[in-house]
Structures are given as structure tokens and as C-alpha cells.
């Protein structure tokens, strides 16, 4: 088990390094940050001075090693815009983002999983068909379209809810709904197919042949097996708690991490973008690690595999 975790941690570290490296290179290849930040008509001397001040005059690989050296000592750099520490800027925005993504995650779980299970148990019923049409619509409609649609109906036409901003909890309702509905649809479809797969297995027939009630067959034989694939997608959703609301935050002018990232990319505020990407990669990696451990808890076949790998 220890060995399993260590190998997974190592893999996680490699993933993070790759993400950060990629972001570092792409940001520097996609336009001169000094020129963008100083403005197109800034005097050349001022732009040069800015470059020297931020070390942008050095070769990319030198910058890269400086950057990693700084990360190792816990320094994630400063914003080129206002000179504040990138990590502080990002940390300030995290609560706002979580205020959207955590309730949205709850909606996804509480709506998506039961809907998927119900649809699977009543396969081809009218409710199943309606749920699946809704689910397809829910995950094919892009979130900005759904967001604008909700704004149109509930803010513009009905006037019940504000269309943007962060003044009160009422402002959160539409963005949370936008995030939650789409995710619930994905989860419902996924749970349904996982359940259908399990319900067709011979051990379900064995459980019925034993004399268990259908309810007991579903609860103690089908659900624990269907949970195994479903955990993957839930893990992905947990992993996108930080980065999953970029579009929705922009649509609803919600001052979260996603919005900060959009602005920082447009401004080539390198340290801020890199800091956000590092954070996003880290959350994703932690979520994946949790999923791997959960697999072991849910599926004894993997547990033996891990024990054997550990022993061998």
C-alpha cells in the first residue's frame, strides 16, 4: 500500500512539473509580456527597463530554472501588474470560486446520481427517456449558452434574480445552477450506464435467485459495483472545483479564480497565470490520487493487485 502510494505520488509530481513547464513555455512564446503590459505605444527604454526588472531579457531556460528554484523555496512570484504576491492574489479569489463550485458539486451529486440510478432501474420508461433527453441537452449545451439562457429567463424576462455580480447569495443562484445542471446531466448519464452494465451481470441474477428482494439486490449488490466507475467521474468533478468555473465566472462577472485567470492571461501576468495553473494541476492530481485510493476501497480485486504489487 505504501509502495502504491509512493509510486502514485511520484507520478503526481511528474504531472505537476509537466503542466507547469508547459504553461511556462507557452506563455513566453505567445507574445511579449513586457510590450503587452506596458502598452503598444510605451517608449522602448521603458519596455527594456521592464524586461530587465522582471528578468525577461534572459534566455528562456535561465528564466525557467530561476522559476523552479523560486517555487522550491515557496516563492510563486509576483504579479507584474501591481507587484503583489501571485499566491495572495489567487488565494483571495478561492473562496468566491468555491462558493460557486461546492454548491454546484452538491447539485451534481444529489441530482445526477439518483437520476441516473432511477433511469437505469426504469429503463426505457417515459421517465428514463425524459431524463436522458434532458441529460443529453444538459451536457451538449455549452455552459455559456446555458448561463445566458438562464439570465435571459430569470434575470431579463422574469426579473427574479440578478444577472451578474457578487453582492448577495441571490447572485450565486444562476451561476451555481448553470454549473450544477450541466454536471448533473453528465453524471446522470454516466451513472445510468454504469448501473445498466452492472444490472446485466450474472451475480445480479444470482442475488435474485437467492431470494433477495429487488430493493436489496439493488442496494447491496448493484450499487457497490456501479460506484466503482462512477467514482472516476466524481473525482474529476472534485478535481475541477478550482478551475471548473472559468467560463461561468466570466458570464456572470463573478470575481473568482477563473475570472482572475482570464484577465491575467489577457494581460500576460505570467506569475499569476502560472500560480493558478499550478494550483489547478495540484487539485486535479490530489483528486485523482483520492480516486485511486477509493478504487482500492471499493474493489477488492484491485486491493489484492496492490498487495501483490507491494509484495513483489
Amino acid at each position: 500500500m505504501v509502495r502504491f502510494l509512493l509510486s502514485r505520488l511520484l507520478r503526481a509530481a511528474v504531472t505537476i512539473v509537466l503542466v507547469v513547464t508547459f504553461a511556462f513555455v507557452v506563455l513566453r512564446l505567445s507574445g511579449d509580456p513586457a510590450q503587452i503590459i506596458m502598452g503598444a505605444d510605451a517608449p522602448p527604454e521603458a519596455v527594456d527597463a521592464f524586461r530587465t526588472a522582471w528578468g525577461l531579457d534572459q534566455p528562456v531556460w535561465v528564466q525557467y530554472f530561476h522559476y523552479f528554484g523560486a517555487i522550491a523555496s515557496g516563492d510563486l512570484g509576483r504579479s507584474m501588474r501591481d507587484g503583489r504576491e501571485a499566491i495572495v492574489l489567487v488565494a483571495e479569489r478561492i473562496p468566491a470560486t468555491l462558493a460557486l463550485t461546492v454548491p454546484a458539486l452538491l447539485i451534481k451529486l444529489l441530482l445526477g446520481i439518483p437520476a441516473g440510478i432511477y433511469a437505469a432501474l426504469h429503463r426505457n420508461s417515459a421517465v428514463d427517456r425524459a431524463l436522458m433527453v434532458a441529460a443529453v441537452a444538459g451536457f451538449t449545451v455549452p455552459s455559456f449558452v446555458l448561463g445566458l439562457l438562464l439570465v435571459l429567463v430569470f434575470a431579463v424576462q422574469l426579473g427574479w434574480l440578478p444577472s451578474g455580480g457578487q453582492e448577495s447569495w441571490r447572485h450565486a443562484i444562476l451561476p451555481v445552477a448553470t454549473l450544477g445542471i450541466g454536471g448533473a446531466a453528465v453524471l446522470a448519464r454516466f451513472t445510468r450506464s454504469a448501473m445498466l452494465e452492472v444490472l446485466g451481470q450474472p451475480y445480479i441474477r444470482t442475488a435474485s435467485a437467492k431470494g433477495l428482494t429487488w430493493r436489496a439486490v439493488v442496494w447491496s449488490h448493484a450499487l457497490p459495483n456501479a460506484a466503482i466507475p462512477t467514482v472516476t467521474i466524481v473525482g474529476f468533478m472534485v478535481g475541477s472545483l478550482i478551475a471548473g468555473a472559468v467560463v461561468v465566472e466570466s458570464v456572470f462577472s463573478w470575481p473568482g479564480v477563473g475570472r482572475l485567470m482570464v484577465v491575467a492571461v489577457a494581460n500576460r501576468d505570467l506569475a499569476v497565470v502560472q500560480c493558478i495553473l499550478l494550483l489547478v494541476a495540484a487539485t486535479m492530481v490530489v483528486a485523482n490520487l483520492t480516486v485511486d485510493v477509493l478504487y482500492g476501497v471499493l474493489d477488492p480485486r484491485l486491493r489484492t493487485g496492490i498487495r501483490r504489487a507491494g509484495a513483489g
Binding site: 444470482t206 437467492k210 431470494g211 459495483n225 471499493l298
Partner: protein, 325 residues
Amino acid sequence: MSGLVAITGLTVAFSGQPALRGVDLAVGRGEAVGLVGESGCGKSVTWLAALGLLPSRAEIGGSVRLEGEELIGAPPARLERVRGGRIAMIFQDPASSLNPVHRVGRQIAEALSLHRGLEGASARAEARRLLDLVGIPDASRRLDAYPHEFSGGQNQRVMIAMALAGRPELLVADEPTTALDVTIQAQILDLLHSLRREFGMALVLISHDLGVVSETCERVAVMYAGRIVEEAPTERIFADPRHPYTRGLLGALPPLAGPKRRLASIPGGVPEPWAMPPGCAFAPRCAAHRPECDRAAPHPLPVAPGHRAACLRATEPAAAEPVPA
């Protein structure tokens, strides 16, 4: 022998396509009956239908009575008491017939709790005794193992232990040895044989293998295209088969003694459910086919006590094609 289960006129159709076209079969108390036929002929469907284990889209007709009590259309609560409690069933692929995420002890204990009200330590002790009984070594430790930690043959033993948990009067074994090695097959068949003796339990052995059935069963019913075409005591089926299909099956068996011969195969294939011939379903493949065979499906004719065959020529011993010798 007093009757335990009486199946009469059982029909099953899936979206209008018939899978069973009127099955009549009786199983006496403590009797071992073999149900033989090729895949898709309705052997398993017969018993899945009897126990209400078919998907709800299956259209079921006819009657299955367990000591007079009708099972077809019975309320779920009554069927649940029958399943595992009076009629238990084991299946072809033991590895996937056990739930991979639960320990085998728990899966056996579930049946003990349902049918005998045993819980906790007493359920565990009884589960251990059952594992012992079916020949799993080191039973008390193996209770905590998962199905993937057992071999195929051991999993089938676990399935049998689970089936015995409810002290059923009838065990339906659906191709219990098909997925297993030949040596393991023999062990499982021996086990079923001795358990049946010990508990006086009736056994229905579903198989496509006449050889397997002949060793274990007193009576054999041969199924073809959703009907029972011949039924007789085991020795009679081998000595004096009357239905051309049964003869064909026997002809396809390799002889144990005597010179080697080419194994006979039955020409043609089983008709699809949507293209059943109007008369006898076997007529298109039958060498002894006559025009009247196409008029209506032949009714089973008594040939001898306990022997009936659904062939117009069943009572003409020498008339039909001889078994290739």
C-alpha cells in the same frame, strides 16, 4: 414418486418472438432430471421463467406449480421465499455469478439470514460448515476471501454452498460444469450427486452434454426449439431413443468402446424463432421427414411407461433412421 414441480404449457416470448413453445415437465421429490439440448433451445429460460428471474419484458404463459402452488404470476414476496428457500439455482459461469465486491462468507450468510433467520456468529458458523461440506479446504479462513481469490471450480463449490444454505427441495444446476476443466467437472458432478443423496434434494441438471446428464440423472428430457421432444428414463434414452433429434444427439457422441467412427452431425441448423416451420420444428433437418410432419407440431406420444416422444413415428421403433453404429 410424489410430484414436486409440475410445469404445464409453459410459454415464453421476448418481444413477440417465442422462446418456449409449450413446455411440460414434472420433477418428483428427490428426483434427478436432466434437461438436454443445444444452446438457445430454452433449457435455462424454462427455469428462469419458473422462478420469475426473466426480465419483465418477457411474456410468460402457462403454469408452473410447486406442490400445487402456482408460481407464474405469483406476487414477488411469495417468489422470494421460493427462490433459494425451496428452489435454488446455480449457473454456468461461477466466477461472474458471485458478486466481486463481497466476501463469499457474506454472500452465503445472506441466504442463511433470508431463509433460516441465522445472523452474526451462528450464520458464520453455518456458512463455514457449508463451505466444509462442499469441499473447500480451510473453510473458516476462506469465508473472508473474495470470489476472485478462488478458482473456477471452487467458486462453483461456493455457489453450491450458497444454494444449500436455504435447504432447498430442488436444486436447478444450469450448465454447472460447462466453464470448468474436465477433471473439475467430474468433481463438481460427484459433489452434486452425493449432496443430493445426503439431503434427498431433487436436482435438475441443465446441460448440452448427454454424457454429463447420463451419469447424474435418473430421467432425461430432451429439448428442441422451445419444446420437450423426448422424455424417458436415462437408460431408455440411450437404449431406445425414439425422436430423430435424440438419435442425432446420441450419434454425435463419441463411442467409448469399439472401433473409432466418424461422429454424425445433424444437417442444417435450429430454426430461428421468427421462422418456425408450421409443423414439427425438427422436420426440415429430419431424415425421416414425411408430408404430415408439416401439418401441426406433433404431440408427445407415449412409447413406454415414463417414455414419451413428440414424433409422429415415435411408436414405430424400426421405422426411423437407425442410430449410426
